[in-house]
Amino acid sequence: MDRYNDFSLGEFVWDKSFRSWVLNPTREDDETWQNWLVAHPEKREMVARARQLVLAIRPSNSPLPNPEKRMAVERIVERLETRNLENTETVHLPWYAGRAVRIAAMLVLFAGLGWLFWLRHQPKALDYDQLVAATNVEMREIANTTAQPLTISLEDGSRITLDPGSKMSYPAHFNGTKRGGRREVFLSGKAFFDIAKDPSKPFFVYANELVTKVLGTSFTVRSFADEREVSVAVKTGKVAVFSREDPDATEKQSSRELTGVVIEPNQQVVFIRKTVKIIKSLVPEPEVVENTGTAPHFEFDDAPVSAVFNALQNAYGIDIIYDKNIMDECPITATLTEMSLYEKLDLICKAVGASYKSIDGRIVVEGKGCKNN
């Protein structure tokens, strides 16, 4: 234990034995450590701090509730017992070669093909009423006929704020839909969605031509029947957007990952109806992304330009692309608090003789650097 006598905080935090005492203590370990602490009272505070850090910083886990685990374990044991009952003489095929699995796979395949066929040959049901009519689940509709935004809470904890003149349809129960694996709503007009996180049940918003798929995040969808564009803008998290007309839309929907055009905070997607084009850009007024860390501060004193761009990048969650080698020669002294993102960029670019463009939802800065000045 003597090697611990001169340990620093960091060394404790990353010491394997220390960690295993904190994370999986056994009586033996605990005794050894307690004795050591009695002999080294000056180390107590540091050990307590290291302990807190080890306990606090962990991989984020999606929790597995006990009942769910119990059921899964029971299922395995049950399976085992039924297998034991079947005569053990049979040759054991790999699981996917079993007859039941093969039949099930065929059925799934046929169902899938049938569905695909059905989708392809559907009349193009792209406006809200047709979309809603095409579902075979019992739907509820809420229309906001007032002059104020209207907030609705869904049973999964998601909150949706409907703008005046907008309406939304959603199933009475999300579990009622096939496979239970999806939460699907239909929108006409504009609404802000704050979706409760549930990776196993992706949330879909169908708004005319656009399908938005999220796992848990907040964003705005704007889709008025009489407007030329449909748009989706993200506030927090990530969403995937694709066109209903996309020949691969079914795969994109059922994929476990977010595929399609993926947009992040402060980015938006606009679907131009006439040309059937999806365009990704920044929202008109990017906002600071709420963050778990420290509040962003934008005061710089003789800081390299990369530090400034980094701060902006973190605060707004927007990629800023620039040539670090050239630009880092330019020091910045500025107070940029209380300015919009574009005002900040204007000021910085002016200071270092550069210019910026917003391309594909990112900011690209070009300049010659400051070597000559």
């Binding site: 234990m1 394997k16 034995s17 850090l53 991989p59 685990k69 085992l80 476990r256 990952e257």
Partner: protein, 201 residues
């Protein structure tokens, strides 16, 4: 000086369950599943977000172990063995899906993807909370394979050989991954500490 090693007790107990299970003891089998299920599930979620799919894969792993029990080595450490089987199954499944859906599944879909986060209410001092948030950021910046090695070593108390078994690479490669991760952690730790200390509180 006694080197503190991992709780041999736990280890022994698992090995015992494993041996009894291989001998055909269903109760031991169930105990073993109960003990390792959380770990397997959490490890699985790092590769795939579909809970049901992971549960199915874990089930297949355990049923497979039972079927092959006559052929399995009694001395294999059960946890790494089970993790490795689960990992292989998930990979196989992902590559099959990738074939079916062409390019919708690409390489990145079967990669270990882990986020670290900090529970700030466990930390008393404001200073250490800041430290924790910086550490978390730093850990999240680790390349994915290094992250996986760090996860297995520091959060699941595994030895080099066991990690090699789970990740299906040479023990030397595990050492390299861990060394690189450590170099990264150490170099950042210095700046983190100096930044945190320099802040006025």
């Amino acid at each position: 000086m006694k080197a503190l090693t991992r709780s041999d007790l736990y280890f022994e107990e698992e090995q015992k369950l494993w041996r009894e299970m291989l001998a055909g003891d269903v109760t031991a089998y169930e105990h073993l599943i109960n003990r390792t299920y959380d770990l397997l599930f959490h490890y699985g979620t790092k590769f795939n977000s579909d809970r049901e799919l992971i549960k199915d894969c874990i089930q297949d792993v355990f049923l497979g172990v039972w079927e092959k029990r006559d052929a399995l080595n009694h001395e294999i450490p059960p946890k790494p063995y089970l993790l490795a089987s689960l990992r292989r199954r998930l990979h196989r499944l992902a590559s099959r899906l990738r074939m079916d859906c062409m390019d919708y599944y690409n390489e990145s879909d079967i990669v270990f993807d882990l986020e670290f986060s900090a529970e700030y209410q466990l930390i008393e001092s404001e200073n250490d909370r800041l430290l924790a948030s910086r550490m978390t950021e730093m850990l999240n910046e680790l390349p994915k394979r290094q992250k996986e090695a760090v996860f297995l070593r520091f959060y699941n108390d595994m030895e080099r050989e066991e990690i090699a078994m789970v990740m299906d690479i040479q023990p030397q490669s595990v050492s390299n991954l861990l060394q690189e991760a450590f170099k990264f952690i150490k170099s950042h730790w210095k700046t983190i500490i100096s930044v945190v200390l320099a802040l006025p509180f």
